[in-house]
Protein backbone atom coordinates (compact mmCIF):
# COMPACT_ATOMS: atom_id res chain seq x y z
CA UNK A 1 0.00 0.00 0.00
CA UNK A 2 2.81 2.38 0.89
CA UNK A 3 4.59 1.67 -2.40
CA UNK A 4 1.48 2.38 -4.47
CA UNK A 5 1.13 5.62 -2.53
CA UNK A 6 4.67 6.67 -3.48
CA UNK A 7 4.12 5.89 -7.15
CA UNK A 8 0.80 7.69 -7.42
CA UNK A 9 1.48 10.80 -5.41
CA UNK A 10 4.18 13.37 -5.10
CA UNK A 11 6.27 12.92 -2.03
CA UNK A 12 7.15 16.03 -0.15
CA UNK A 13 10.38 14.63 1.11
CA UNK A 14 12.84 12.39 -0.60
CA UNK A 15 13.18 9.98 2.27
CA UNK A 16 9.89 8.20 2.85
CA UNK A 17 10.62 4.49 2.66
CA UNK A 18 7.34 3.75 4.42
CA UNK A 19 4.35 5.92 3.79
CA UNK A 20 3.56 9.20 2.20
CA UNK A 21 4.80 12.62 3.28
CA UNK A 22 7.47 11.04 5.49
CA UNK A 23 5.00 9.35 7.81
CA UNK A 24 7.08 8.14 10.74
CA UNK A 25 6.40 4.53 11.51
CA UNK A 26 7.97 2.43 14.23
CA UNK A 27 9.98 -0.70 14.70
CA UNK A 28 10.69 -2.95 17.64
CA UNK A 29 13.51 -1.58 19.81
CA UNK A 30 16.13 -4.09 20.89
CA UNK A 31 16.22 -5.11 24.51
CA UNK A 32 19.32 -3.82 26.32
CA UNK A 33 19.93 -7.38 27.64
CA UNK A 34 19.38 -11.01 26.67
CA UNK A 35 16.01 -12.69 27.11
CA UNK A 36 17.40 -14.85 29.91
CA UNK A 37 19.21 -12.05 31.73
CA UNK A 38 16.36 -11.29 34.15
CA UNK A 39 16.00 -14.84 35.40
CA UNK A 40 14.87 -16.09 37.83
CA UNK A 41 12.69 -13.03 38.46
CA UNK A 42 11.25 -13.06 34.94
CA UNK A 43 11.71 -16.10 32.75
CA UNK A 44 13.39 -16.05 29.38
CA UNK A 45 10.25 -17.56 27.82
CA UNK A 46 8.15 -14.64 29.03
CA UNK A 47 10.70 -12.02 27.95
CA UNK A 48 10.86 -13.44 24.45
CA UNK A 49 7.09 -13.67 23.98
CA UNK A 50 6.54 -10.32 25.62
CA UNK A 51 9.05 -8.56 23.38
CA UNK A 52 8.77 -10.44 20.06
CA UNK A 53 5.03 -11.10 20.07
CA UNK A 54 3.16 -8.67 22.29
CA UNK A 55 5.29 -5.53 21.86
CA UNK A 56 5.76 -6.27 18.16
CA UNK A 57 1.98 -6.64 17.69
CA UNK A 58 1.37 -3.23 19.27
CA UNK A 59 3.92 -1.73 16.88
CA UNK A 60 2.48 -3.49 13.81
CA UNK A 61 -1.03 -2.37 14.68
CA UNK A 62 0.09 1.12 15.63
CA UNK A 63 1.80 1.54 12.23
CA UNK A 64 -1.35 0.28 10.50
CA UNK A 65 -3.51 2.73 12.42
CA UNK A 66 -1.12 5.59 11.66
CA UNK A 67 -1.26 4.83 7.94
CA UNK A 68 -5.05 4.70 8.05
CA UNK A 69 -5.06 7.95 10.04
CA UNK A 70 -2.80 9.59 7.48
CA UNK A 71 -5.07 8.55 4.64
CA UNK A 72 -8.22 9.68 6.46
CA UNK A 73 -6.66 13.01 7.46
CA UNK A 74 -5.60 13.65 3.89
CA UNK A 75 -9.08 12.89 2.61
CA UNK A 76 -10.69 15.01 5.31
CA UNK A 77 -12.61 11.97 6.54
CA UNK A 78 -13.37 13.21 10.03
CA UNK A 79 -15.43 10.28 11.21
CA UNK A 80 -12.68 7.80 10.34
CA UNK A 81 -10.11 10.01 12.05
CA UNK A 82 -12.19 9.92 15.22
CA UNK A 83 -12.91 6.21 14.91
CA UNK A 84 -9.17 5.45 14.75
CA UNK A 85 -8.41 7.16 18.08
CA UNK A 86 -9.02 4.08 20.18
CA UNK A 87 -6.74 1.91 18.00
CA UNK A 88 -4.07 4.60 18.30
CA UNK A 89 -4.44 4.81 22.06
CA UNK A 90 -4.38 1.01 22.46
CA UNK A 91 -1.52 0.24 20.17
CA UNK A 92 0.48 3.47 20.45
CA UNK A 93 0.07 3.31 24.19
CA UNK A 94 1.23 -0.30 24.12
CA UNK A 95 4.35 0.70 22.20
CA UNK A 96 5.13 3.66 24.46
CA UNK A 97 4.55 1.73 27.66
CA UNK A 98 6.60 -1.30 26.70
CA UNK A 99 9.48 0.83 25.43
CA UNK A 100 9.65 2.42 28.89
CA UNK A 101 9.27 -0.98 30.58
CA UNK A 102 12.33 -2.59 28.94
CA UNK A 103 14.42 0.28 30.32
CA UNK A 104 12.86 -0.12 33.75
CA UNK A 105 14.39 -3.59 34.02
CA UNK A 106 18.03 -4.60 34.26
CA UNK A 107 19.95 -7.78 35.01
CA UNK A 108 21.23 -8.02 38.56
CA UNK A 109 24.83 -7.89 37.36
CA UNK A 110 24.08 -4.54 35.72
CA UNK A 111 22.51 -3.01 38.80
CA UNK A 112 19.03 -4.47 38.64
CA UNK A 113 17.45 -4.26 42.08
CA UNK A 114 20.00 -1.82 43.52
CA UNK A 115 18.14 0.85 45.49
CA UNK A 116 18.07 4.36 44.08
CA UNK A 117 20.65 6.78 45.37
CA UNK A 118 20.91 10.51 44.96
CA UNK A 119 17.96 12.81 44.58
CA UNK A 120 15.42 10.14 43.62
CA UNK A 121 16.27 8.03 46.67
CA UNK A 122 15.91 11.05 48.90
CA UNK A 123 12.66 12.08 47.25
CA UNK A 124 11.20 8.59 47.68
CA UNK A 125 12.00 8.63 51.41
CA UNK A 126 10.48 12.06 51.66
CA UNK A 127 7.29 11.17 49.79
CA UNK A 128 6.64 7.62 50.98
CA UNK A 129 8.68 7.23 54.17
CA UNK A 130 11.02 4.63 52.73
CA UNK A 131 11.76 2.63 49.61
CA UNK A 132 10.09 -0.37 51.26
CA UNK A 133 6.92 1.63 51.76
CA UNK A 134 6.90 2.67 48.12
CA UNK A 135 7.45 -0.91 46.99
CA UNK A 136 4.66 -2.09 49.26
CA UNK A 137 2.30 0.56 47.87
CA UNK A 138 3.06 -0.19 44.22
CA UNK A 139 2.81 -3.94 44.77
CA UNK A 140 -0.52 -3.59 46.56
CA UNK A 141 -2.00 -1.33 43.89
CA UNK A 142 -0.62 -3.52 41.11
CA UNK A 143 -2.15 -6.62 42.67
CA UNK A 144 -5.52 -4.94 43.15
CA UNK A 145 -5.80 -3.69 39.57
CA UNK A 146 -8.82 -5.37 37.93
CA UNK A 147 -8.23 -6.73 34.47
CA UNK A 148 -5.22 -5.43 32.53
CA UNK A 149 -3.08 -2.37 33.14
CA UNK A 150 0.04 -0.84 34.62
CA UNK A 151 1.21 0.52 37.96
CA UNK A 152 3.50 3.56 37.82
CA UNK A 153 5.86 5.61 39.90
CA UNK A 154 5.50 9.06 38.40
CA UNK A 155 6.87 12.52 38.85
CA UNK A 156 4.17 15.15 38.84
CA UNK A 157 6.06 18.00 37.22
CA UNK A 158 3.47 20.58 38.14
CA UNK A 159 3.33 19.87 41.86
CA UNK A 160 6.94 18.63 42.01
CA UNK A 161 6.10 15.42 43.81
CA UNK A 162 6.23 11.68 43.34
CA UNK A 163 2.98 9.76 42.97
CA UNK A 164 1.90 6.18 42.46
CA UNK A 165 -0.72 5.76 39.73
CA UNK A 166 -2.40 2.95 37.86
CA UNK A 167 -3.65 2.96 34.29
CA UNK A 168 -6.04 0.54 32.57
CA UNK A 169 -5.16 -1.49 29.49
CA UNK A 170 -2.47 0.42 27.53
CA UNK A 171 -3.61 3.89 28.51
CA UNK A 172 -0.48 6.03 28.76
CA UNK A 173 0.28 7.65 32.09
CA UNK A 174 -0.64 11.11 30.80
CA UNK A 175 -4.28 10.02 30.72
CA UNK A 176 -4.15 10.26 34.52
CA UNK A 177 -2.62 13.76 34.48
CA UNK A 178 -0.92 15.80 31.78
CA UNK A 179 2.00 16.74 34.02
CA UNK A 180 2.86 13.14 34.99
CA UNK A 181 6.25 11.81 33.86
CA UNK A 182 6.73 8.04 34.10
CA UNK A 183 9.79 7.03 36.11
CA UNK A 184 8.94 3.37 36.55
CA UNK A 185 6.11 1.27 35.12
CA UNK A 186 5.24 -2.31 35.94
CA UNK A 187 3.14 -4.26 33.45
CA UNK A 188 0.41 -6.22 35.24
CA UNK A 189 -1.27 -7.61 32.13
CA UNK A 190 -1.43 -11.39 32.59
CA UNK A 191 0.91 -11.89 29.61
CA UNK A 192 3.65 -10.23 31.67
CA UNK A 193 3.75 -13.04 34.22
CA UNK A 194 1.30 -15.86 33.58
CA UNK A 195 3.57 -18.59 32.21
CA UNK A 196 5.76 -18.31 35.30
CA UNK A 197 3.55 -17.07 38.13
CA UNK A 198 0.11 -18.18 36.84
CA UNK A 199 -2.67 -16.55 38.83
CA UNK A 200 -0.33 -15.42 41.62
CA UNK A 201 0.27 -11.85 40.50
CA UNK A 202 1.49 -10.86 44.01
CA UNK A 203 4.48 -13.24 43.63
CA UNK A 204 5.41 -11.61 40.29
CA UNK A 205 5.20 -8.23 41.98
CA UNK A 206 7.32 -9.43 44.87
CA UNK A 207 10.06 -10.72 42.58
CA UNK A 208 10.20 -8.03 39.93
CA UNK A 209 11.83 -5.59 42.35
CA UNK A 210 15.00 -7.70 42.11
CA UNK A 211 15.45 -6.55 38.52
CA UNK A 212 14.10 -3.01 38.65
CA UNK A 213 16.54 -0.56 37.08
CA UNK A 214 16.54 2.33 39.55
CA UNK A 215 19.48 3.93 37.70
CA UNK A 216 17.25 4.62 34.70
CA UNK A 217 14.44 5.98 36.90
CA UNK A 218 16.98 8.27 38.61
CA UNK A 219 18.23 9.56 35.26
CA UNK A 220 14.72 10.43 34.12
CA UNK A 221 13.99 12.04 37.49
CA UNK A 222 17.15 14.15 37.48
CA UNK A 223 16.53 15.30 33.94
CA UNK A 224 13.08 16.62 34.90
CA UNK A 225 14.29 17.90 38.23
CA UNK A 226 17.66 19.54 37.62
Amino acid sequence: MALRTLINRKTLTTTAPLGFRGLQTFSLPDLPYDYGALEPAISSEIMQLHHQKHHQAYITNYNKALEQLDAATTKGDASTVVKLQSAIKFNGGGHVNHSIFWNNLAPVREGGGEPPKGSLGWSIDNSFGSLEALIQKMSTEGAALQGSGWVWLALDKEFKRLVVETTANQDPLVTKGPSLVPLLGIDVWEHAYYLQYKNVRPDYLKNIWKVINWKYASEVFEKENP
Partner: protein, 228 residues
Protein backbone atom coordinates in the same frame (compact mmCIF):
# COMPACT_ATOMS: atom_id res chain seq x y z
CA UNK B 1 -39.45 -1.38 27.32
CA UNK B 2 -39.22 -5.03 28.27
CA UNK B 3 -36.55 -5.65 30.84
CA UNK B 4 -34.72 -8.77 31.85
CA UNK B 5 -34.18 -7.48 35.33
CA UNK B 6 -37.63 -8.20 36.75
CA UNK B 7 -37.30 -11.90 36.00
CA UNK B 8 -35.03 -14.28 37.84
CA UNK B 9 -32.18 -14.90 35.49
CA UNK B 10 -30.93 -17.75 37.61
CA UNK B 11 -32.76 -20.03 35.20
CA UNK B 12 -30.28 -19.12 32.50
CA UNK B 13 -27.40 -20.60 34.46
CA UNK B 14 -27.93 -23.33 36.94
CA UNK B 15 -26.54 -21.24 39.77
CA UNK B 16 -29.66 -20.75 41.87
CA UNK B 17 -27.78 -19.31 44.76
CA UNK B 18 -30.22 -18.22 47.42
CA UNK B 19 -28.03 -19.88 50.03
CA UNK B 20 -26.04 -17.70 52.37
CA UNK B 21 -22.70 -18.45 50.75
CA UNK B 22 -21.96 -18.32 47.04
CA UNK B 23 -20.58 -21.69 46.01
CA UNK B 24 -17.93 -22.61 43.45
CA UNK B 25 -19.71 -24.89 40.99
CA UNK B 26 -17.59 -27.38 39.06
CA UNK B 27 -17.79 -27.43 35.27
CA UNK B 28 -20.28 -30.00 33.93
CA UNK B 29 -17.39 -32.27 32.83
CA UNK B 30 -14.06 -33.43 34.29
CA UNK B 31 -11.16 -30.96 34.09
CA UNK B 32 -9.42 -33.00 31.38
CA UNK B 33 -12.53 -33.54 29.27
CA UNK B 34 -11.83 -30.65 26.89
CA UNK B 35 -8.35 -31.89 25.96
CA UNK B 36 -6.58 -31.35 23.64
CA UNK B 37 -8.47 -28.15 22.79
CA UNK B 38 -8.39 -26.70 26.29
CA UNK B 39 -5.86 -28.40 28.52
CA UNK B 40 -6.50 -29.89 31.95
CA UNK B 41 -3.77 -27.57 33.22
CA UNK B 42 -5.75 -24.56 32.01
CA UNK B 43 -8.92 -25.82 33.72
CA UNK B 44 -7.00 -26.52 36.93
CA UNK B 45 -5.83 -22.92 37.07
CA UNK B 46 -8.74 -21.19 35.41
CA UNK B 47 -11.44 -22.97 37.43
CA UNK B 48 -9.38 -24.15 40.41
CA UNK B 49 -7.61 -20.84 41.09
CA UNK B 50 -9.17 -17.90 39.23
CA UNK B 51 -12.84 -18.88 39.47
CA UNK B 52 -12.35 -20.12 43.03
CA UNK B 53 -10.72 -16.80 44.03
CA UNK B 54 -13.64 -14.82 42.66
CA UNK B 55 -16.01 -16.95 44.76
CA UNK B 56 -13.92 -16.77 47.94
CA UNK B 57 -13.26 -13.06 47.61
CA UNK B 58 -16.90 -12.30 46.88
CA UNK B 59 -18.02 -14.19 49.98
CA UNK B 60 -15.50 -12.25 52.07
CA UNK B 61 -16.71 -8.96 50.62
CA UNK B 62 -20.44 -9.51 51.14
CA UNK B 63 -20.49 -11.07 54.60
CA UNK B 64 -22.29 -8.77 57.02
CA UNK B 65 -23.49 -6.47 54.25
CA UNK B 66 -26.91 -6.05 52.68
CA UNK B 67 -25.71 -8.14 49.72
CA UNK B 68 -25.34 -11.18 51.96
CA UNK B 69 -28.06 -13.72 51.21
CA UNK B 70 -29.06 -12.21 47.88
CA UNK B 71 -28.91 -14.24 44.68
CA UNK B 72 -25.77 -13.89 42.61
CA UNK B 73 -27.69 -12.18 39.82
CA UNK B 74 -29.16 -9.65 42.25
CA UNK B 75 -25.70 -8.91 43.64
CA UNK B 76 -24.39 -8.37 40.10
CA UNK B 77 -27.14 -5.92 39.16
CA UNK B 78 -26.91 -4.06 42.51
CA UNK B 79 -23.12 -3.68 42.41
CA UNK B 80 -23.08 -2.70 38.73
CA UNK B 81 -24.94 0.33 39.95
CA UNK B 82 -25.66 1.62 36.42
CA UNK B 83 -21.95 1.63 35.57
CA UNK B 84 -20.70 3.25 38.79
CA UNK B 85 -19.22 -0.04 39.95
CA UNK B 86 -19.16 -1.07 43.58
CA UNK B 87 -16.04 -2.96 44.67
CA UNK B 88 -17.82 -6.36 44.74
CA UNK B 89 -19.00 -6.12 41.14
CA UNK B 90 -15.88 -7.58 39.62
CA UNK B 91 -15.95 -10.68 41.82
CA UNK B 92 -19.71 -11.23 41.58
CA UNK B 93 -19.88 -10.86 37.81
CA UNK B 94 -16.79 -12.97 37.27
CA UNK B 95 -18.28 -15.81 39.36
CA UNK B 96 -21.36 -15.75 37.12
CA UNK B 97 -19.37 -15.28 33.90
CA UNK B 98 -17.21 -18.31 34.57
CA UNK B 99 -20.18 -20.54 35.47
CA UNK B 100 -21.73 -19.46 32.18
CA UNK B 101 -18.48 -20.04 30.28
CA UNK B 102 -17.96 -23.63 31.51
CA UNK B 103 -21.57 -24.39 30.61
CA UNK B 104 -21.04 -22.85 27.16
CA UNK B 105 -18.58 -25.63 26.33
CA UNK B 106 -18.69 -29.41 26.18
CA UNK B 107 -16.41 -32.25 25.15
CA UNK B 108 -16.95 -32.96 21.47
CA UNK B 109 -18.48 -29.52 21.01
CA UNK B 110 -18.20 -27.04 18.19
CA UNK B 111 -19.61 -27.37 14.71
CA UNK B 112 -22.90 -25.85 13.68
CA UNK B 113 -26.20 -25.58 15.58
CA UNK B 114 -29.51 -26.77 14.17
CA UNK B 115 -33.21 -26.08 14.51
CA UNK B 116 -34.61 -22.72 15.52
CA UNK B 117 -31.25 -21.42 16.76
CA UNK B 118 -29.66 -21.94 13.34
CA UNK B 119 -32.64 -20.29 11.63
CA UNK B 120 -32.40 -17.23 13.88
CA UNK B 121 -28.63 -17.02 13.35
CA UNK B 122 -29.15 -17.09 9.59
CA UNK B 123 -31.92 -14.53 9.89
CA UNK B 124 -29.95 -12.07 12.02
CA UNK B 125 -26.41 -12.54 10.64
CA UNK B 126 -27.01 -13.69 7.07
CA UNK B 127 -25.35 -17.06 7.53
CA UNK B 128 -23.68 -19.13 10.22
CA UNK B 129 -20.29 -18.22 8.71
CA UNK B 130 -21.02 -14.52 9.03
CA UNK B 131 -22.09 -14.97 12.65
CA UNK B 132 -18.91 -16.91 13.39
CA UNK B 133 -16.77 -14.22 11.76
CA UNK B 134 -18.48 -11.46 13.74
CA UNK B 135 -18.21 -13.39 17.01
CA UNK B 136 -14.51 -14.19 16.51
CA UNK B 137 -13.77 -10.61 15.46
CA UNK B 138 -15.48 -9.21 18.54
CA UNK B 139 -13.54 -11.62 20.73
CA UNK B 140 -10.24 -10.86 19.00
CA UNK B 141 -10.68 -7.09 19.19
CA UNK B 142 -11.82 -6.81 22.80
CA UNK B 143 -8.82 -4.87 24.03
CA UNK B 144 -7.41 -5.92 27.37
CA UNK B 145 -9.49 -8.30 29.42
CA UNK B 146 -13.10 -9.14 28.67
CA UNK B 147 -15.64 -11.39 27.01
CA UNK B 148 -17.49 -11.79 23.73
CA UNK B 149 -21.15 -12.83 23.73
CA UNK B 150 -23.99 -13.99 21.58
CA UNK B 151 -27.09 -12.43 23.14
CA UNK B 152 -30.81 -12.18 22.54
CA UNK B 153 -32.15 -8.64 22.58
CA UNK B 154 -35.81 -8.98 23.53
CA UNK B 155 -36.86 -5.45 22.58
CA UNK B 156 -35.86 -6.04 18.97
CA UNK B 157 -36.41 -9.84 19.00
CA UNK B 158 -32.92 -10.13 17.57
CA UNK B 159 -29.68 -12.03 18.14
CA UNK B 160 -26.59 -9.85 18.51
CA UNK B 161 -22.87 -10.23 19.08
CA UNK B 162 -21.41 -7.93 21.73
CA UNK B 163 -18.10 -7.63 23.54
CA UNK B 164 -17.60 -6.45 27.12
CA UNK B 165 -14.57 -5.31 29.14
CA UNK B 166 -13.30 -6.98 32.30
CA UNK B 167 -16.29 -8.38 34.23
CA UNK B 168 -19.18 -6.62 32.49
CA UNK B 169 -21.83 -9.04 31.22
CA UNK B 170 -25.17 -8.89 29.35
CA UNK B 171 -27.21 -9.15 32.56
CA UNK B 172 -26.41 -5.53 33.32
CA UNK B 173 -26.98 -4.44 29.72
CA UNK B 174 -30.52 -5.80 29.49
CA UNK B 175 -29.77 -8.64 27.09
CA UNK B 176 -30.26 -12.38 27.54
CA UNK B 177 -26.83 -14.04 27.29
CA UNK B 178 -26.71 -17.17 25.11
CA UNK B 179 -23.00 -17.94 24.58
CA UNK B 180 -19.73 -16.54 25.82
CA UNK B 181 -15.99 -16.87 25.31
CA UNK B 182 -13.51 -15.62 27.93
CA UNK B 183 -10.75 -13.47 26.40
CA UNK B 184 -8.89 -12.58 29.59
CA UNK B 185 -5.34 -13.73 28.87
CA UNK B 186 -5.52 -16.32 31.67
CA UNK B 187 -8.18 -18.16 29.63
CA UNK B 188 -5.77 -19.04 26.82
CA UNK B 189 -2.22 -18.14 27.73
CA UNK B 190 -1.02 -21.58 28.89
CA UNK B 191 -2.36 -23.25 25.72
CA UNK B 192 -1.99 -20.52 23.10
CA UNK B 193 0.23 -17.79 24.61
CA UNK B 194 -0.37 -14.59 22.62
CA UNK B 195 -2.30 -16.37 19.85
CA UNK B 196 -5.82 -15.37 20.78
CA UNK B 197 -7.22 -15.90 17.25
CA UNK B 198 -6.05 -19.54 17.31
CA UNK B 199 -7.77 -20.04 20.68
CA UNK B 200 -10.97 -18.59 19.24
CA UNK B 201 -10.87 -20.89 16.19
CA UNK B 202 -10.38 -23.93 18.41
CA UNK B 203 -13.22 -22.74 20.65
CA UNK B 204 -15.63 -22.45 17.73
CA UNK B 205 -14.55 -25.66 16.05
CA UNK B 206 -14.29 -27.94 19.06
CA UNK B 207 -15.78 -26.56 22.26
CA UNK B 208 -19.07 -24.65 21.85
CA UNK B 209 -22.07 -26.46 23.32
CA UNK B 210 -24.84 -25.53 20.91
CA UNK B 211 -27.26 -27.52 23.07
CA UNK B 212 -26.61 -25.13 25.94
CA UNK B 213 -27.05 -22.13 23.63
CA UNK B 214 -30.34 -23.49 22.24
CA UNK B 215 -31.79 -24.22 25.65
CA UNK B 216 -30.80 -20.75 26.88
CA UNK B 217 -32.56 -19.25 23.88
CA UNK B 218 -35.72 -21.24 24.70
CA UNK B 219 -35.60 -20.08 28.32
CA UNK B 220 -35.03 -16.48 27.26
CA UNK B 221 -38.03 -16.52 24.92
CA UNK B 222 -40.21 -18.12 27.60
CA UNK B 223 -39.06 -15.53 30.12
CA UNK B 224 -39.78 -12.75 27.70
CA UNK B 225 -43.23 -14.13 26.89
CA UNK B 226 -44.02 -14.38 30.59
CA UNK B 227 -43.28 -10.69 30.94
CA UNK B 228 -45.52 -9.63 28.05
Amino acid sequence: MASTQGFSLSALSSNENVAVKIELKPPPYPLDALEPHMSRKTLEFHWGKHHRSYVDNLNKQIVGTELHGKTLEAIIVDTYNKGDLHPSFNNAAQVWNHDFFWESMKPGGGGVPNGELLELIKRDFGSFEEFEKEFKTAAATQFGSGWAWLVYKAQDNKLLVIKTPNAVNPLVLDYYPLLTVDVWEHAYYLDFQNRRPDYLSVFMENLVSWEAVSSRLQLAKKAQAAQN
